[in-house]
């Protein structure tokens, strides 16, 4: 053990000797990090002046994001490892950070999201006055963001797991920050438990790999060997839990709605991608070939893509809907990863490159879009004081800017050209198409075709989901007075939304260069030498231009000059329509939900009251019930088993001293038996 510690000491010193200019910049980043932590504490100290601390902290957050972006650009494209010098140590381990193509991409994404979250915060936190303690919120938020930087930059397993745990803990604290509601507490605890289980599995996998490869740094880990299957499985499951892949997604629809919008934006936008990052960094770049694992990942990804969007369709809480849709997208990303691995195993480098690019590109896109959508939802929540689609509606006139941002985000989620969602979706389709064409085994071809079919169904469902969100949430007339009195969001909030919208549109229109950039990082392997550029043949800019121009022409030709008369919506001559006559979110989703009844456990019970009910109903109530099978059939029972076991064990502590003495004696007997056995 001593040698262990000493060895660590030695290689730390060695690493210290190999310092170069890049490390200087890294030290600068480290410095800012420390400084910001101090600032967070400061915020905590002056937390009683809410306004000031909010301003200061959101500024600091933006500063952090900007500085990290600057550091990214500053360090150019070379990759380097940085091992912390003596004082910055994890007890006995040096922290080792690694900056390369992959982490660069994710750091960039994180910085963007954090920047917009910071912009958003000042305006948003107003409506949480008195419900959350801003000092605590900001401290944990900064801790959260710093730890996420740490995770994507970490070069070895220990740094990774440390940062990972800090991230989980701080995010759980953030989820629970509005802890006066009971539901919020419950959600935070569910999330905390899920994430702890995930990290437990990860620890298991890491320890196992360490005992196999004798090293903590990811670079030395090789998953090609036969006995590396089990650690690979542990790691895969761990990451799946954290990412909210079916069937481990239970925590997600609780956590995201419960958290403040900024937090859920960051969590869904980036934290769920961190699992993907981990999968790429550890399993993909570790050279995983085991078909069992790959097929498992493929299967899980496909299922969660479908399951997520299906449940998103029938949600009535705006943020819950978004949460489920991020399950869908993470599923898509995992699916793409699995396709890449399959293709690599089947020796189809082109397909593998396409799929890999698709996965990473979709990470970026979904990160941006989903944080945009969550921010918009937050804006709606802060202005209309509800997220329930049954109470929303008619916001189009109240908050047009937010509506525009939300619509564009939703289009991108429906992967409609020319927005970025389409580009990455196209890549996934393309990879499947190619493997259906090129793959040697006919079974694989069939699977690819079936997956294409599934994906198109998922796409159509996504359209249904987001049309519902847009139409019921923003169009028509307000369904409640709260929505009636909504105001447009503050300038900062709008600015952050628009920033993200611009990013999405940009990534969509100039997808081809983005794709080239990503594919040249050649993320499939550790050595960035073997890089083959994936080409993106669609001329999206032309298409966009064409669409815009045609729209303008058509508008000018036809509608611009036409005489318009404003009248009320046609009411079949019954007189003024009540807002209840509009389609509610349930009724909009009903035909589709009916088709998928068996999956959703979809039940509608309607009761009609009044004498002669058929002709003169006095009261009609229709309620829709959806039961999540997993939760009711699997998770709750297993929880019950655990708590039952705990109760049973607690019976041992019965309070009688005679019993206790008997334990002592029986333990003695057992020990003697064991001793004789050994």
């Amino acid at each position: 053990m001593r040698n262990y510690a000493i060895a660590l000491l030695d290689d730390r010193i060695e690493a210290g000797l190999h310092g170069n200019l890049l490390m200087k910049s890294a030290e600068i980043i480290l410095g800012t990090v420390v400084l910001l932590t101090l600032a967070a504490v400061a915020a905590f100290v002056l937390s009683h002046q809410k306004k000031l601390s909010n301003r200061l902290m959101s500024f600091l957050l933006c500063a952090l994001a900007a500085s990290s972006l600057a550091a990214l650009l500053g360090t150019g494209f070379q990759q380097f490892t940085y091992v912390t010098p003596a004082p910055f140590l994890l007890g006995v381990f040096p922290m080792s950070f690694r900056l390369d193509g992959l982490s660069r991409l994710f750091v960039g994404l994180l910085s963007l999201i954090l920047f917009s979250a910071g912009l958003f915060s000042t305006g948003y936190l107003k409506h949480l006055e008195g419900r959350i303690s801003s000092g605590l919120y900001w401290t944990t938020f900064l801790l959260f963001s710093l730890s996420m930087f740490g995770v994507v930059l970490s070069g070895d397993a220990i740094t990774f797991i440390v940062m990972w745990e800090i991230m989980s803990l701080s995010s759980a604290a953030l989820v629970g920050s509005d802890h006066s509601h009971h539901l919020v507490q419950k959600s935070a605890l569910i999330y905390l438990s899920a994430t702890r289980i995930a990290s437990g599995l990860l620890c298991g996998g890491f320890l196992w790999m360490h005992s196999l490869c004798g090293s903590w740094s990811f670079v030395d880990w090789n998953f090609g060997t036969a006995q590396a299957i089990f650690p690979a499985l542990l790691i895969l499951i761990g990451f799946c839990i954290k990412a909210g892949i079916w069937p481990f997604h239970i925590w997600l629809p609780y956590a995201y709605p419960a958290a403040p919008a900024t937090v859920s934006a960051v969590m869904s936008g980036f934290m769920s991608k961190i699992s993907i990052y981990g999968l790429i960094r550890i399993l993909v770049q570790g050279g995983l070939y085991a078909p069992e694992i790959i097929n498992l990942a493929f299967f899980l990804g496909a299922i969660s893509a479908f399951w997520g969007v299906l449940f998103a369709l029938v949600q009535n809480d705006l943020k819950r809907l978004l949460a489920y849709s991020s399950i869908e997208n993470i599923g898509l990303i995992l699916l793409a990863l699995a396709i890449a691995l399959k293709a690599r195993a089947a020796n189809l480098p082109i397909v593998a490159d396409i799929a890999m690019t698709a996965a990473v590109f979709h990470c970026l896109n979904h990160g941006l879009v989903k944080s945009l959508l969550f921010l918009c939802a937050g804006a709606v929540d802060s202005q209309a004081h509800t997220r329930d689609l049954h109470k929303l509606g008619g916001l189009a006139k109240k908050m047009p800017w937010t509506m525009a941002c939300f619509f564009l985000g939703s289009f991108s989620m429906c992967s409609i050209p020319p927005l970025n969602g389409f580009a990455s979706k196209w890549l996934i389709y393309q990879s499947l198409f190619q493997s259906a064409m090129l793959n040697v085994s006919y079974i694989e071809r069939g699977i690819a075709l079936a997956t294409i079919c599934l994906l198109s169904a998922v796409g159509a469902l996504a359209i249904a989901t987001f049309v519902k969100a847009m139409g019921v949430g923003f169009l028509g007339t307000s369904r409640s007075t709260m929505a009636e009195h909504a105001q447009e969001a503050s300038a900062g909030m709008r600015a952050s939304q628009s920033l993200l919208v611009v990013m999405c549109a940009g990534l969509g229109v100039f997808a081809s260069s983005a794709v080239k950039f990503i594919s040249q990082l050649s993320l499939l392997s550790r050595d960035s030498a073997a890089s083959t550029a994936v080409d993106f043949p669609l001329s999206i800019p032309l298409l966009t231009g064409l669409l815009v121009v045609t729209c303008l022409i058509v508008y000018l030709l036809f509608l611009e000059s036409s005489k318009v008369r404003i009248f009320k919506t046609w009411d079949c001559g019954f007189g003024a329509l009540s807002t209840k006559t509009q389609a509610s979110s349930d009724s909009f989703a009903q035909p589709l939900a009916r088709i998928f009844r068996p999956f959703l456990r979809y039940e509608t019970n309607s009761t009609i009251k009044g004498r002669d009910r058929r002709h003169f109903p006095e009261e009609i109530t229709v309620e829709v019930k959806i039961v999540s099978i997993l939760e009711s059939r699997i998770y709750l029972p297993s929880l019950a088993v655990i708590s039952l076991g705990a109760k049973g064990l607690a019976k041992l502590q019965a309070g009688s001293i005679h019993l206790y003495l008997i334990y002592v004696c029986s333990t003695l007997v057992i020990l003697l038996l064991v001793g004789t056995a050994l």
Binding site: Q430, A436, C453, F558, V564, T569, F588
Partner: protein
């Protein structure tokens, strides 16, 4: 005159032909369908170009908007119309087409989706119950039909080794005679595209466009609030969509034929247009013979379509030449 001029003339003629067919084919399709139905009901029926006249008439009218509407409604009309024009340009639904950019099949399908989304938003903007009815049904049909359409095109793509529809339809039958099941694939895909277009366009047996019982309508219910030029744009876009889809399936049938008997591009072109007409007639016949399916039965109908294109795709994947 030399090659360059000839080529120029050629492309000019293509442009002209294309423009003419974009303007006249869609209303003609509608007209033919109506005419057929009238004939089968022993009526004279309106002249073939009546739909065009209707649209022109609507263009002269002013429009009435609901007070609840935001700008979304009008924007959506414009976008739908524009998208349809772009689609008409990009999709190889006619075999005489001017130059167009990469008509990737996924892109085409998702451009259709774009049009659909805006139609839905327009329908929901007025806050009327009918619009919402129509929208939620349209969305359901979309879910059912999109896989069928996509898979059909994918089958062609796999068979011809590219996802670019230009290449797919430029794919000369001479190459494919060697490959087993070539006409079969074309035929299957043609049929599945035709049937899915029936669903997509919400015509019989899925929906009866001529009825005015709102509770059963899909498309008509969505455009209930539209009027005047708005309505004109919507109707024309709808017709254009119809002719594009019919054109695609006609193309498939032509290729299927070409895979058996060789024929010159000119004949192909003529057959293509004629095919669209024939399809329109047959749709008319179908509509006057069949009855509207019960709403709950629609998925079963669509299941046939999906299975057909899946079959085509599987055959294609099975027989497709493996390029490594």
């Amino acid at each position: 005159m030399n090659g360059a001029e000839l080529h120029l003339l050629r492309s000019c003629s293509h442009w002209v032909l294309f423009a003419l067919s974009v303007v006249f084919v869609p209303p003609l399709c509608l007209g033919i369908i109506r005419k057929t139905k009238a004939r089968l009901q022993n009526r004279i029926g309106p002249p073939l170009f009546q739909p065009l006249f209707d649209i022109l008439k609507l263009c002269r009218k002013g429009e009435t908007l609901s007070s609840t509407m935001s700008g979304t409604f009008r924007i959506s009309t414009v976008v739908v119309f524009a998208t349809m024009l772009v689609l008409a340009w990009m999709t190889p639904w006619l075999c005489f087409k001017p130059w167009s950019p990469n008509a990737d099949l996924f892109l085409i399908v998702y451009l259709f989706a774009l049009a659909r989304v805006f139609t839905l938003l327009g329908a929901l903007d007025s806050g009327s119950a009918f619009g919402a009815f129509g929208a939620s049904r349209e969305v359901t049909l979309g879910l059912l039909v999109e896989p069928a359409l996509l898979l059909g095109l994918v089958a062609l793509g796999i068979f011809c080794g590219s996802s670019d529809l230009r290449l797919v339809f430029a794919y000369s039958p001479l190459q494919s005679t060697g490959v087993s099941g070539a006409p079969g694939i074309w035929l299957l895909v043609g049929v599945s595209i035709l049937l899915s277009s029936l669903v997509e366009l919400s015509r019989m047996p899925v929906d009866d466009p001529t009825t005015h019982l709102e509770l059963t309508m899909v498309h008509e219910a969505m455009v209930l609030e539209a009027s005047g030029r708005n309505l004109a744009l919507i109707e024309f876009a709808h017709a254009l969509r119809m002719s594009i889809l019919f054109g695609l399936s006609a193309q498939c049938f032509v290729h299927a034929a070409a895979a058996v008997w060789r024929m010159s591009p000119l004949t192909q072109g003529i057959l293509n247009i004629a095919g669209i007409g024939l399809i329109a007639i047959s749709v008319g016949v179908l509509e006057s013979l069949s009855v509207k399916l019960q709403w709950r039965k629609v998925p079963e109908f669509v299941a046939y379509v999906v299975s057909m294109s899946l079959l085509a795709a599987l055959v294609a994947a099975g027989s497709g030449v493996t390029k490594l």
